[in-house]
Symmetry: D2
Subunit: 417 residues, 4 copies
């Protein structure tokens, strides 16, 4: 168990990283919400701060709320924590300004420092809540990156977020290799003592028939073959909901892709450029991932198959896994990260997001964190180039609706043996 000093350190580092990620933004970039899923960057800054004020400081004697209106502004979906601003309305709130929100952050950070100074050892229950708050802010760091990509990428000027250090993509042998796993009973779910969410606990056993998963992610080059073969024009490999989605939205390629004179370009946080053939395909929906797999005569792995294969073949996060800290903000070619199970892109599984057998949601406000979303979503595994390293582990369960594409999402194939 972490000591107070370590917790305080981690708190400050996490808080600073959030601000660092915002450095390239102009004040205007903080405000808008082009689609409901994408929150304004300034909302992320306020909401992560509100978490600590609301769940920690507000319970401290003598603490004065920075601004009583901010509770209303920066509550996201916690019904138990009182009224909140309509999610669809976040992007219309020009006030508080980014300067006011930065003052709010500073205020809360100072009081958190006083809080840490008060204790040599933080009480267990508060320790837990602060730990959740830190992890929560790391989750929002990933959302911050994907949301600002959406905001900038929807602008015809295609502003550059990260000007330096473009990645080096190199070709590699394309032949697919597979990683086999034997039939048997396997343990699923988190079982250590470190931080983890309620949705990954309830360690339990799952029986798996023999299967194998591809030893890398699907590349843009392979996905371009799918497009060239009429992948978006033939109903055959698509789920019915997916085919409706394609036709209703006129989908012709992954999100952020643009065709010009027969060539495919895309927007990345490095700007507008040709699609990199060797990099993993990303910004695809579950529907596209599933259709691609079927077109290949394969299928997506279940979340259990993914977790077991990961535990077996990549028992710990490789040094060179492409995660947030790398500062690439774009998935890289395989040469940088063998097997590519951690980082790069979130991998759609064919598992619906449902509770584990012994799932119990946490008490109080934090109980709304995960459990209430367990319907109509699919599980994703492995983290992406925007995921903080501390955040990811083989048992981590991410979840999104099948049509979502604004996250860094990608494809790994599997098959039964």
């Amino acid at each position: 168990m972490k000591k107070t000093s370590m917790l305080g350190k981690q708190y400050h580092k996490t808080r600073q990283t959030t601000l660092d990620l915002c450095a390239p933004l102009s004040p205007e970039d903080y405000v808008v919400q082009p689609i409901e899923d994408v929150s304004p960057p300034k909302w992320h800054l306020g909401h992560t701060t509100w978490f600590f004020e609301n769940f920690i400081l507000a319970n401290e004697p003598d603490y004065q709320l920075f601004n009583t209106d901010f509770n209303y502004f920066f509550n996201s979906y916690y019904e138990s924590q009182g009224e909140r601003i309509l999610r669809t309305n976040r992007g219309n709130m020009t006030r508080p300004t980014i300067d006011e929100i930065k003052a709010y952050r500073q205020h809360v950070d100072e009081h958190m420092e006083q809080f840490f100074a008060k204790y040599t050892e933080v009480p267990q229950d508060l320790f837990y809540v602060i730990d959740v708050g830190i992890q929560h802010e790391k989750q929002h760091q990933e959302l911050l990156v994907t949301d600002l990509k959406y905001i900038l990428g929807g602008n015809p000027l295609f502003p550059v977020y990260q000007p330096n250090g473009t990645h080096h993509s190199t070709p590699f042998a394309k032949t697919a290799h597979y990683l086999p796993v034997k039939e048997g009973l396997y343990s699923i779910g988190y079982q250590g003592e470190g931080f983890h969410y309620d949705n990954e606990t309830g360690k339990h056993q799952v029986f798996l028939h023999a299967y194998q998963v591809m030893d890398r992610l699907i590349t843009n080059e392979e996905y371009l073959e799918f497009i060239a073969a009429g992948g978006y024009e033939n109903f055959e490999p698509w789920l019915a909901d997916g085919w409706d989605w394609v036709n209703k939205n006129g989908v012709k390629a992954p999100y952020y892709w643009f065709e010009q004179n027969g060539e495919w370009f895309n927007y990345t946080l490095h700007g507008f450029s040709k699609v990199d053939p060797h990099a993993p395909v990303t910004h695809v929906s579950f529907y596209e991932a599933d259709a691609f797999a079927k077109w290949k005569g394969k299928r997506l792995p279940t979340e259990f198959e993914w977790e077991v294969a990961c535990n077996q073949y990549v028992p710990k996060i490789p040094e060179n896994a492409n995660l947030l800290e790398g500062g690439h903000f774009v998935p890289l070619s395989r040469n940088n990260n063998e097997y590519q199970m951690f980082g790069e892109v979130w991998e759609w599984t064919n598992s619906a997001y449902l509770p584990y057998p012994y799932y119990q949601k946490a008490e109080g406000g934090l109980g709304e964190y995960n459990g209430k979303f367990m319907v109509n979503q699919m599980v994703l595994k492995g983290g992406s180039c925007a995921t903080p390293k501390d955040q990811i582990r083989s048992t981590y369960r991410n979840f999104f609706q099948a049509d979502k594409r604004w996250q860094f999402t990608g494809i790994r194939l599997a098959e039964s043996l």
Copy 2:
């Protein structure tokens, strides 16, 4: 394997039952489509007929299509079978008239009779398709009943469909008993030689931790307690999507329920009447079933838990199971059907509708039957008072979106041990 004569017999019986179910309708009742889910009765009559014409007779030498336009009219969702009328537009088609469709049925039935007369033994592949066609028509019989209930139940005159033989509901001891199942590896999926769908094959093994399921369905009386306790006004037990659904639609009770002066009434196919306290609650969405279970401190069973418990406790369909053939068209109190696992109401499970490990979709047009719907839906088990007896078995997987309520859907509780 059934012989031709048996197949022919079954064909004719099935076709006649469909017509019998329509006997109480006036020509006007056949036409409308009040919501997208509900097809006009005359569409069911035409579509089930089209199945045999399109997949069997159209391949016979010398057969002339009854009317070439009918292919366009009565194709439902088979992309591979050519253009079709938009689903949302079915309810605007006043022609062909019901008389023309009955002539179409008769024409096809006559040619099917010639077809049966031709063979002493129907070739395996055609046998299979006809068998699917018969089962398909049985599925549509259930839809016919639920769709006409929706049509009549939305009319302020509340027309009676079934005037005679109202059921006798009797009280019974309310104390909940549970049926325990031991931890272990269990076989799931169809393994006999009778008719079954591709989605229930791929017999495989599933490991279950110890659990138990309630020995009966939840009653209207119990559900009324949930309402009285503010079930629809407190977000706590609801999934987030469910709580949105409640608020967006102003849901306050199961579908077909109406409050008058503090008392609850409902529309059944016997007309407008007080809610029967001892009958199983029905016309609830997955959201309501799940919220009710959580409010009770329990959960819904998975489809695997349901199937294993059913195999163990109700290995065959009881004589008095309340299914379509009983002609009740309303779920009955427990006294009529111990355990109530077959018939009465479809039981929502907490399993998403997904492929079994070795799932392979059928070749050709019939491959569109099940597989392409495997996303965004939940599995239901056990059949309802509108399900034909031949149709149901413990491995049968029904599936609907979490918000659907026009089917006879209900609740059974479960818990881990």
Copy 3:
């Protein structure tokens, strides 16, 4: 002032005509409402009957309502007359059946007969209401024809409503001639003693600058030139709302027109056929009429210009005006009806539907007849091939929203001098 006997006669004739217009329908055709504007034919039958029951018979001592639910069913938009069925829901009501509605008609007709028998002279106020009821039913006869055209014309089988007596269209000299009117003060509005609506009273004076109107309607041939010249692809002649409407709805031609291999066909109540070049164009929106006029370098007349020109050049309805009684149900070429000011197609004017200077809406329920619609609509003049002869006069003001096309609507050009 009409005597009772004349009124009774007119009542019966009108009621019979409504039934005659329904003769070609099958029961299914009576039920549906493909768009909100189009009411189910059986609703027209019930609503026109309800008018007499509600406003006349219900006030008679001893009269028993045929069915108390019918008031709820067949009230259209009279807020003062109690609750009513949602307009968008009319097409889901399969009951009462058409047979029940016909019984309702007969019941009311019999009691109206008793009513007429009671009086040698009907009291002034009741006389007026009955007169409105008769005119109201005539208005619904026109809607009945246009609504059933919409119902049948949206069916891919293109059912024929009127099999006999197709019209003879003959070419004529196309050169446009204009009918000039001098600058001056003109009287507008109804000033006789016959039946008329509140919206055409308040006779008043309007000053008109010199102008002229075309001496006939725009033909299909002329409209085809507009299409061929890219009329629907060039924003120039369109109002902004019109251009949005074109693009949002993918409009490429008048409603009921279909292009096949470069040729234009249309659905008429005689069936599917090639577009008749010499007949007036019809089923165009105000937006199309206005854009066509501007493309020609002209404009539409105002309602005042139309009325004054009509009074001057066509002081009474010509014998051969193509109105409902002719039974053509399709506009005919000019040779049949010089000037074409009465019948054929309703002529869009460039006047918004607004009150005349001294406009007073009628007292009570009938006050909701016209006045409350005086915003967001345009005035049309002259009647169509579906308008009963008694219904139309030069002062009659019809009105529809600018995008409506299911009525027989057409174009006459004008210009200032």
Copy 4:
């Protein structure tokens, strides 16, 4: 005709006023578009600049566009001027930043200065376009004020835009007096040599029957009586479209009004405060204005009645008319401005926005300024507290859809004599 030096002076003054109006804004306030009608303030700054660059400078030899992308960004609705950003998408564009747009303004202003320096007398046609550009920017000043009111007023913090100089509202005798006008032929439309729009030319004659208009605007106090009398709960005085609008949107009061413990408050640009009883009611739709008038047994004047009464009773703009230059940004009580025909609030008339008899739209891009909006809108007269003084005159025709409320709109009653 104005000389170059005067034109240049007016240009610079106008451009400066636009910037002055933005002084109280933070960068975040410039970005958002909470509803389609409300453009982001930075869009106004760019678009008014684009007007001069696109219609004047772009035609100058040697002029280099500041940024070729800006044409795409800042074109509003001129179809003839090339592609443009979707109106609904304006509020998602965080770039160009406000600093870049201010640089754009400066760039264009400098080149306009060079342009003015080049000519002692600007050619007639260019003079006209610049004049339009200046007037156009003044129109956008008014929109800027109303749009930023909408942005700030939708924020629960209710930010203050104008902290100083709140107005002094004083009671006055409430008895309504009317200004009579005699029956006769009147000239309508602009006939001088000053600036005016194409939609107010075509001076022509209109015959008016005798009438009178109220000698002041309807106050909040009077409107509160309408609310208290159940004005929003009784269908009687409402147009059908208006009644639908009330119910669909749950309208209970003018926009920006809030009820707290039985008292009415409103947001003004001075912040949140109690409704001022003596000030004119504002932010009402045409529907509300019309319903209020009918509830009072009166009606709204036509645009012609308004114009003639204004010419007769208020032949020139009074010194103390409350217009933009006053810096109040809120309508004031009658004592400040007898008759209140200029400034305060735009007055809804009962005239639809339609062309005058001899209306000809301007050639080229400027032809899209007014003419194409002549359908589905109502005319408003007199200007508001946000209208620049140069902008308004008795012939000026403003126009909005009947449901619009974000402008300063109000009510004057009229009646026929």
